[in-house]
């Protein structure tokens, strides 16, 4: 019990100190750039726990989820196809290497020309820009599969569906999830950036617009919302990953101990 308290104290002293320092340090602040934390939190509660949550936050989260879903599913599907065929992999590798080297936000102007301002543009940017880590990791994961395992699935005459869902995907899943995590981070960056670049609503739009209007507490409040979005999305992902890869961690730990 005592050690538990000690550990809690160790975990909490720094965040609490930072928050207290921020709260009291900015309490009587008259600087336009650093409004009192109290004001920031009031603005946050007024805007984001109110109507804006429905009008701006929910659409942003929706676009982000759809874009991430397309990038993740597309990356894993195409990665399986490419990873299973040596020739296809050889043929597409240089093209893929070049496309993934382009910083994803750089394709924003092209997406804007193609789709105009609207949800489809945000989704397209995420789907096209964030697909690469999922794609490349799936290719690598599938290619790293033991040849004997593939022979085994053939001699057992597993149906293609069984071969993919019971053998290939699970075997490649640790690497696939590592790729999906990067895809997730890139999707968050891209929803924020694409809303800043060209949008009339959404969290990204709100923050950049507040900055341009010199609405400083609103800029801070929006930044907090974006931070929370990134934090919660990563947290949910890690929880799902832990569940899906529980078998892998168990195996890994037992190997480590042996």
């Amino acid at each position: 019990m005592r050690t538990l308290f000690k550990d809690m104290g160790l975990l909490l002293w720094l965040p609490i100190t930072i928050l207290l320092a921020w709260w009291f340090g900015s309490a009587n602040s008259t600087s336009i750039y650093f409004p009192p934390l109290e004001l920031i939190l009031e603005t946050f509660a007024r805007d984001w726990l109110g109507p804006r949550f429905v009008t701006d936050a929910l659409p942003s989260i929706g676009k982000f989820l759809v874009g991430f879903g397309i990038a993740a599913a597309g990356g894993v599907f195409l990665g399986m196809l490419i990873g299973l065929s040596r020739r296809l992999n050889a043929a597409l590798d240089p093209l893929i290497q070049f496309l993934r080297a382009i910083p994803p936000p750089a394709i924003l102007p092209i997406a804007l020309l193609l789709f105009g301002i609207g949800a489809s543009m945000n989704i397209a940017v995420i789907a096209l820009g964030a697909i690469w880590p999922a794609l490349l990791n799936t290719i690598d994961g599938v290619r790293a599969l033991d040849l004997q395992v593939i022979d085994m699935t053939k001699s057992y005459r597993l149906s293609p569906a069984k071969r993919i869902f019971k053998v290939l995907l699970p075997a490649a899943s640790p690497q696939i999830f590592a790729g999906l995590r990067v895809t997730l981070q890139m999707s968050i960056i891209l929803i924020v950036v694409s809303e800043m670049f060209a949008s009339t609503s959404g969290i990204g739009f709100y923050v950049l617009n507040s900055q341009q209007l010199f609405a400083v507490p609103e800029t801070w409040a929006g930044t907090i919302v974006l931070g929370l979005l990134g934090y919660v999305a990563t947290l949910v992902f890690v929880l799902i990953e832990r569940r899906v890869l529980a078998w892998h961690r168990g195996m890994y730990n037992s190997l480590e101990k042996a």
């Binding site: 975990l11 050889a90 070049f98 080297a101 750089a106 981070q185 960056i189 999305a233």
Partner: protein
């Protein structure tokens, strides 16, 4: 004697076969690239691709070639690269001691855990409006964003590396009274280098992405701003040429890391498996 000669000739035959296979593979890759460019050219010339969004492939490539000979282009590349590079140096200076401290001391690790785990997943671009407010579209603003984005992936690797340090080796170094320099060179460096290189590789690609965003949206000078300006004047070939150039820059940075990791890490297992 004969066995070794046999082994030698067999190895040679296998390697030449492998080389031929690799050559065929790269031909396939080249073929795809040429095919895609040709397809793009035909589709855009015949109007199958919407002309408001797609210039022809030849227009883009010719523009890219003429840009490569212009001073504006290289100034933009220099601006983007220098912001990324300064940011990475700061990341190195901050990330190395903090990562070491977290990896070596339980007290530091537990104390910073919640704070860092909260800060890590925050997208660096979320801070863009705030830093624009502080510094405007400047180099400082770009460098700050780059640092915030590239710090975590590098520091995480340093932490892993610091945990790998062998306490027995460190004790040995102490009891043999190795000089500080020799301890660093012979124990710290070999353990940390592979992790540090991995971290820097990830950090570098994030640094370029963040720098381009800061230019594209924040309006700082560099390749991102050139893309935005070409877009505003509806100069599609230039816009595409700059977007392609950012991809080439990414490839070049990756190439540099491959080049320096070979002589630096030739002894490390990760470099040996590359042959297959």
């Amino acid at each position: 004697m004969s066995a070794s000669a046999f082994g030698f000739s067999l190895g040679k035959a296998v390697s030449s076969q492998r080389r031929r296979a690799r050559f065929a593979e790269s031909m396939w890759g080249l073929g795809t690239v040429v095919f895609v460019l040709l397809l793009w050219e035909i589709l855009s010339r015949t109007g199958m691709l919407p002309t408001i969004a797609f210039p022809s492939a030849s227009d883009v490539l010719l523009r890219l070639v003429s840009l490569l000979a212009s001073a504006t282009f290289w100034t933009a590349v220099g601006n983007t690269l220098s912001a990324a590079a300064i940011g990475l140096v700061i990341v190195l200076v901050i990330g190395l001691p903090f990562g070491m401290a977290i990896g070596r001391s339980r007290w530091v690790e537990r104390s910073t855990l919640l704070t860092f785990e909260f800060l890590k997943p925050i997208p660096p671009v979320a801070l863009l409006p705030l830093v624009l407010l502080f510094w405007g579209p400047s180099l400082t603003m770009k460098v700050f964003l780059v640092t915030m984005g590239a710090l975590w992936p590098f520091m995480v690797q340093v932490v892993y590396g610091a945990r790998e340090l062998d306490s027995t080796q460190l004790d040995l170094a102490r009891s043999y009274r190795l000089s500080r320099w020799r301890t660093i060179r012979q124990i710290f460096l070999p353990t940390l280098l592979p992790f540090g290189m991995t971290g820097m590789r990830v950090a570098a690609s994030i640094a370029v992405i963040v720098a381009v965003v800061a230019e594209l949206i924040g309006g700082a000078t560099g390749m991102g701003q050139e893309i935005a300006m070409a877009q505003n004047s509806a100069d599609l070939p230039t816009m595409y040429a700059y977007i392609f150039a950012t991809g080439l820059l990414g490839l070049a940075i990756n190439g540099v890391f491959n080049l320096i990791s070979k002589p630096l890490l030739f002894w490390h297992p990760s470099q040996r498996t590359k042959e297959h």
